[in-house]
């Protein structure tokens, strides 16, 4: 057996297959994919229902509609085709790390040695591998055919045959190719015409010609084609570099002006995207949405995830919120999602320590909380360096793994905490001046919140002060242009409630910034 074994996955009628992957509901209709606009639109591919009505590639759309009045026509969609091609390559990568992207619905993969993992049920291993490739492609909504041979060309020709999968045993490429019509090798038009004049009809006929004479009469192109006809394919498999991001999108038949229809089609695209990422063991850490606007222009927006996730509902909610906040401003004629992948969080479970949170569930929950409240309202709190008590920061919540052994809870310290008032409430304070101009000579006697009546009822910071303790000075950033100087008091109101109030030294204004609770 030859040292190299190459499998080819091919999507027949690629533009149609790509469109049906994005719009599977069209499979029940007579569908044709057309290229060009208006009267110049020509059929590129049609499904079985349409072909049954007499549609053929190359017909104009008008001719096609005359043959099949209920024909659903869709234009060729680069976005759909790009996504379908990527999905096909990812299917191939499930089987082999060496995959070549040959474009237009064709993928080659190096399957040398892989067949040993197949054929457990008694069927020939390579046949079982071929069937597995087709099944995996079908699971990704791609109606692929497979062929396995020792060269790329033989594998592609084998995959193009209707009885899929076709296995060409090693060293028998020439015998496999011999009965095939010469047109299968896709020679150049002038070369094909010359061979037609010579009466060469099949690949086998061409292979029988002496190599030196073919070379002298047909030149380099003829010599290369002759080598291929003899089963010698000089082209090696060129493995692709997997792209850093996952892409899904489509051009819409007519521009969308409202959000709900867009989310409907966007959801399907996100579902496909998440399925692909999950297959590759990734999760989305950042999602970019590019909108193609009518009549021209593009708009790109990016949504960051608090933790890698593949939850479609969460991603869609984040997209919805972003679109609601910043509408595109023009009808949307097409869109594409670009998902930046990251490894999902993993956690090692402990037998004896406290249970850790499930990383998947946590990532999804955080993303949903982001979508519900916004990124600035969810996170792990951190105190900021400095003296002003209202300052804080939020960092992404990523708890460390729990300890291996359960610890006893730390004994409580019995401390009284301050409930911070954000923002600080502006106050009117009646003070007693004890013959001095500094804060030490001020004694707050009565306070009243300078807020709306509704807020006043809620806050209830109003009344005579029973006990006031202070002032405690706070000075920060005196070396900057915007220094902070405050004098703090703790005050207990006769009506109840213990507040922390302060007076700005520069402006002399009073504020309440916390309640002891």
């Amino acid at each position: 057996m030859s040292a190299v074994r190459i499998a080819c996955l091919i999507l027949p009628l690629f533009p149609l297959a790509a469109r049906l992957r994005s719009e599977p509901e069209l499979s029940r209709e007579a569908l044709a994919v057309v290229e060009g606009n208006g009267n110049a639109a020509r059929v590129v591919a049609a499904n079985r229902l349409a072909r049954g009505a007499g549609l053929k590639p190359g017909q104009t759309l008008t001719q096609a509609r005359a043959l099949c009045p209920k024909l659903v026509a869709r234009p060729c969609d680069d976005e759909c085709e790009r996504a379908a091609q990527e999905a096909l390559l990812e299917v191939a990568e499930q089987f082999s790390p060496r995959v070549e992207d040959a474009g237009s619905g064709i993928a080659y993969l190096d399957v040398q040695g892989i067949e040993r993992h197949f054929g457990k049920d008694g069927s020939p291993p390579e046949l079982d591998l071929g069937r597995s490739l087709i099944a995996a492609a079908e699971a990704a909504a791609l109606p692929a055919r497979a062929g396995i041979a020792s060269s790329k060309l033989a594998a592609r020709l084998a995959a193009g045959l209707p009885e899929s999968p076709v296995i060409v045993p090693g060293g028998e490429e020439a015998a496999f190719l011999a009965p095939l019509p010469l047109a299968r090798l896709a020679p150049d038009a002038d070369l094909a015409a010359t061979l037609e004049r010579w009466g060469v009809r099949t690949v086998g006929d061409f292979a029988k010609l002496p190599e030196a004479r073919v070379s002298s009469r047909l030149g380099q192109r003829g010599r290369d084609l002759h080598a291929i006809a003899r089963g010698v394919d000089p082209q090696p498999l060129i493995p692709r570099q997997p792209p850093p991001a996952f892409h899904e999108g489509m051009n819409l038949e007519w521009p969308l002006v409202s959000l709900e229809p867009f989310l409907f089609v966007g959801r399907a695209a996100l579902e496909r995207l998440c399925e692909r990422m999950e297959t590759c063991g990734f999760a989305c850490t950042r999602l970019e949405l590019t909108l193609r606007l009518e009549p021209d222009g593009h708009q790109t927006r990016s949504v960051s995830m608090p933790a890698p996730t593949v939850d479609v509902k969460t991603l869609l909610t984040l997209v919805r919120l972003d679109l609601e906040e910043n509408p595109p401003g023009a009808p949307v004629a097409g869109f594409s999602f670009l998902a930046w992948p990251d490894r999902p969080r993993e956690a090692q479970l402990s037998l004896y320590g406290p249970a850790a949170l499930s990383p998947d569930k946590l990532a999804t929950t955080l993303a949903r909380l982001f979508a519900l409240l916004g990124p600035d309202r969810v996170g792990s709190p951190r105190p900021e360096d400095g003296h002003r008590p209202e300052r804080f920061s939020l960092v992404p919540f990523a708890p460390p793994p729990p300890p291996e052994l359960r610890r006893e809870p730390r004994p409580g310290r019995g401390l009284l905490a301050v409930r911070v008032l954000r923002p600080a409430v502006s106050l009117e304070v009646i003070t007693e001046d004890k013959n001095g101009s500094t804060a030490e000579h001020l004694q707050p006697l009565e306070i009243k919140a300078l807020v709306s009546e509704e807020e006043k009822k809620r806050l209830k910071i109003e009344g005579r002060i029973k006990v006031a303790s202070g002032p405690w000075g706070l000075e920060e950033g005196w070396w900057t242009e915007d220094p902070t100087g405050r004098d703090y008091w703790d005050v207990e109101l006769t009506a109840g409630g213990i507040y922390r109030i302060f007076r700005e030294r520069q402006s002399g204004e009073w504020f309440a910034d916390g309640v002891y609770d």
């Binding site: 249970a355 946590l362 909380l369 004994p411 019995g414 905490a417 303790s469 405690w472 002891y516």
Partner: protein, 288 residues
């Protein structure tokens, strides 16, 4: 009593089943028999369930005593307290105790009143604390339900100062949250200025008669805030009468977020204070 919880009585020996229960069962279709149990059996099964899931200690002795060891997992505990009653401090202490053992906890802070520095001073491991800052009660409830579903062992909701933004919410919402807590075996602690959760709460604790404790000289200007003292009473608890059990709670201002150089440290409380929670009211026979 038809119980959806367990069918423990099916496993009981026939001799232990009361004649009345046997009679009721015999009148029922086969499918329903296993779901009928006596109140005693139901109580026993609930006790066994609690033994399987030990409560979450709050490290607040007064609160732990009231709750028979801590916050029961799978139940909604509502703590009601007015302004400066110590309710927020107790809630933060429970979060600090949970995070200090290495478990994650979440605070749904409708009042947006958390001072991270204060939480750290209380002993909270901030890396294990998720702070969620909703703006309405509806958002707070939705966030809490998500957090319970994510598997947080303790979710605390603080509803802030009265009146609560968004009202009390309908009782069905709280029942739904209690059910989510039960389904995930999580402790749900709701701090509220007034009763909101209705029948959904398994335990209701009321903090009342709050008073400030001032230290220092007779002159008002030389006084320092030492802390607050309040009275915790059990308003509702399975198997107990309302107000049957009460505890005194005293909290002290040991550290301040203000610069220590500018503020004198408070003198010790009138009675010597160890670094734990004090129960002067209880010592003085404060039982209601």
């Amino acid at each position: 009593m038809i119980s959806p919880l367990r069918a423990e009585t099916q496993k009981m020996p026939e001799s232990e089943i009361s004649p009345a229960l046997r009679l009721v069962r015999s009148a029922l279709p086969e499918a329903l028999r296993s779901r009928v149990s006596s109140a005693r059996d139901l109580s026993r099964s609930l006790r066994e369930e609690e033994e399987e899931h030990p409560p979450l200690a709050t490290a607040v002795p007064a609160l732990d005593r009231l709750l028979d060891g801590g916050l029961p997992r799978g139940h909604l505990v509502e703590m009601v307290g007015g302004r400066s009653s110590g309710r927020f401090s107790a809630l933060l202490a429970a979060l600090a105790a949970t995070t200090s053992v290495g478990e994650a906890a979440a605070l749904v802070d409708l009042g947006d009143g958390l001072d991270p520095g204060a939480a750290e001073a209380l002993g909270a491991d901030l890396a294990r604390l998720l702070w969620v800052r909703p703006t309405t009660l509806q958002e707070a409830v939705a966030a809490a339900e998500m957090l319970l579903g994510a598997g947080f062992p303790l979710v605390a909701i603080d509803l802030g100062n009265p009146p609560v933004r968004g009202g009390r919410g309908v009782e069905a919402v709280w029942l739904r949250l209690a059910r989510a807590a039960r389904a995930h075996g999580a402790a749900l602690l709701v701090g509220s200025p007034y009763r909101v959760s209705g029948t959904a709460a398994s335990v209701v604790i009321k903090a009342e008669r709050a008073r400030a404790v001032w230290q220092g000289g007779e002159s008002l200007s030389t006084r320092i805030l030492g802390g607050v003292a309040c009275h915790l009473s059990l308003e509702k608890h399975r198997g107990r009468h309302p107000g049957e059990k009460s505890e005194g709670l005293e909290l002290c201002v040991a550290e301040s977020p203000l610069p220590s150089s500018s503020r004198p440290r408070p003198e010790p409380m009138p009675k010597p204070l160890p670094a734990t929670w004090q129960e002067p009211l209880r010592a003085a026979g404060g039982r209601r």
